[in-house]
């Protein structure tokens, strides 16, 4: 559903927010975001270093 409602950039914005609060994606990793999207995107945590 997330991929139907949100475009890749919409999802990226949300997933980067998750990375700020939970850089290692330890908390309920697949609960809100489809983990397939996680694989498709560059590792969100890597963005943080920038």
């Amino acid at each position: 559903l997330m991929e139907v409602q949100f475009s890749p950039s919409d999802l990226a914005v949300q997933m980067r927010i998750k990375s700020v609060f939970d850089p290692l994606w330890l908390l309920n990793p697949g609960k809100v975001f489809p983990l397939t999207a996680l694989e498709l995107n560059e590792r969100p945590a890597a963005d943080q270093a920038a």
Binding site: Q5, Q14, D47
Partner: protein, 406 residues
């Protein structure tokens, strides 16, 4: 003078931001520019205005929802709503009269970007609580949307809400979708005169606890009330404590009686009729009781119960005149101009009594030198920096607008 860009479409905005991101050029983001004198000044190489992104994109009166391009003037939004007997619930204030900006020009995008709500917040909630969705461009030049057109949108993070109050430091909103409500049939105001701050706030708290749906609860110290336009209230030379009721005429009449009965220990009540009520609260919306002058204006969020103590504590260090809104939850405080804006004392006192203080009006040099927004605790600062890096890794959107080096 910085280069002024007026994108008329989302892709144009993306193009401008992409160019600046590549060259790391700081961008000052404005709507009409009415709040440029508020917050920390931005030293932008480029100024982007949303003024050419204008127009109502969707209005469904039956669904109580509207979408507008971010640069649409608030006045146009309110006129469109009024034509269908509706309004914005949170009664956005206009800071321009108090800060010397152009009056009545602010854009709907800026209203949400600064999350500035007026008196009706005590009943309805803040601007951010009515923002259902946004479209915007972040510092990576990505066009994204967040939220939707309905209240019950449960998937994903509520990114729109997070952008409300971010002052253009995370993304430039290009469209906002928000909830609206019908105008009440009748409005009335019940007023008590001459109460000291502590009794007045006690009265406002007691009124808020009554099941009468108070939609405005303010207290103006005598010197502040003397600046009202209402000829009667202005000449009394007394503090004014006012409560607004809005509903169908029959309900307002009954509730007014009930309220006066519950508050009779505070003295005899005056009343403003419908017309006078509209005038009185629209004055407060424009902060006309805190006119632009060579003094400083602080905006302090407080616990209503301790707000009078907080003001009394500040008065031990400096003269201060107060206008309490939100039943004491918000204090507009005018103090004399000093080089450091009284920051040390005011922040110490708010730390003791619980509260957040923002410096609203001061010379640009002062707003550059001192912390204008409430300083962040270290954990919150880390998260704030992380969010800034996630949305705007090059740090080009309104850099330093809220916090230096951010």
């Amino acid at each position: 003078l910085s280069d002024l860009q007026r994108p008329g479409a989302d892709w144009e905005l993306q193009f401008v931001i992409a160019g600046c991101a590549e060259r790391r050029l700081p961008i000052e983001i404005v709507g009409s520019g009415s709040k440029r004198a508020v917050g920390r000044p931005v030293d932008g190489a480029v100024t982007v205005t949303t003024a050419s992104l204008r127009g109502i994109s969707l209005y469904e009166p039956n669904e109580l929802v509207m979408s507008a391009r971010a640069g649409t003037p608030l006045s146009q939004v309110e006129a469109e709503l009024a034509a269908r007997g509706q309004m914005l619930p949170f009664e956005p204030i206009d800071l321009a009269p108090a800060t010397g900006g152009p009056q009545g020009t602010q854009t709907i995008g800026a209203v949400f970007a600064t999350n500035m709500s007026g008196a009706r917040r005590v009943q309805c909630g803040a601007a951010r609580d009515h923002l259902l969705g946004i479209k915007g461009v972040n510092g990576r030049a990505e066009l994204f949307q967040a939220g939707g057109r309905v209240m019950k949108n449960v998937t994903g993070y509520d990114v729109a809400r997070g952008l409300a109050g971010s002052w253009g430091t995370l993304a430039v909103m290009t469209e906002v979708t928000f909830k609206v409500i019908p105008w009440p049939e009748t409005a009335a105001t019940v007023i008590y005169l001459g109460l000291p701050d502590n009794l007045a706030i006690e009265l406002l708290s007691a009124a808020m606890a009554q099941p009468v749906e108070v939609s405005g609860a303010v207290h103006l110290q005598a010197s502040v009330a003397a600046r009202l336009n209402h000829p009667g209230l202005k000449s009394m030379n007394k503090a004014v404590t006012a409560l607004r009721l809005e509903n169908f005429s029959s309900a307002v009449t009954g509730r007014k009686q009930r309220l006066k009965e519950a508050l009779k220990v505070y003295g005899k009540a005056l009343e403003l009729d419908h017309r006078e009520t509209l005038d009185f609260w629209s004055e407060l919306r424009r902060l006309s009781v805190m006119p632009n002058r060579q003094t400083l204006l602080w905006r302090i969020s407080a616990k209503p119960t301790t707000a009078p103590k907080l003001v009394a504590a500040i008065k031990r260090y400096m003269p201060a005149e107060a206008f309490y809104d939100w039943a004491g939850g918000l204090i507009w405080l005018e103090v004399p101009a000093t080089a450091d804006a009284g920051t040390a004392e005011i922040r110490r006192v708010t730390a003791i009594h619980g509260g957040h203080a923002m410096l609203i009006r001061a010379e640009p040099s002062v707003r550059t030198a001192v912390e204008v927004f409430q300083p962040l605790s270290p954990p919150v600062e880390r998260l704030t920096r992380g969010l800034k890096a996630a949305f705007d890794p090059a740090g080009i959107l309104n850099p330093g607008r809220m916090y230096a080096n951010l």
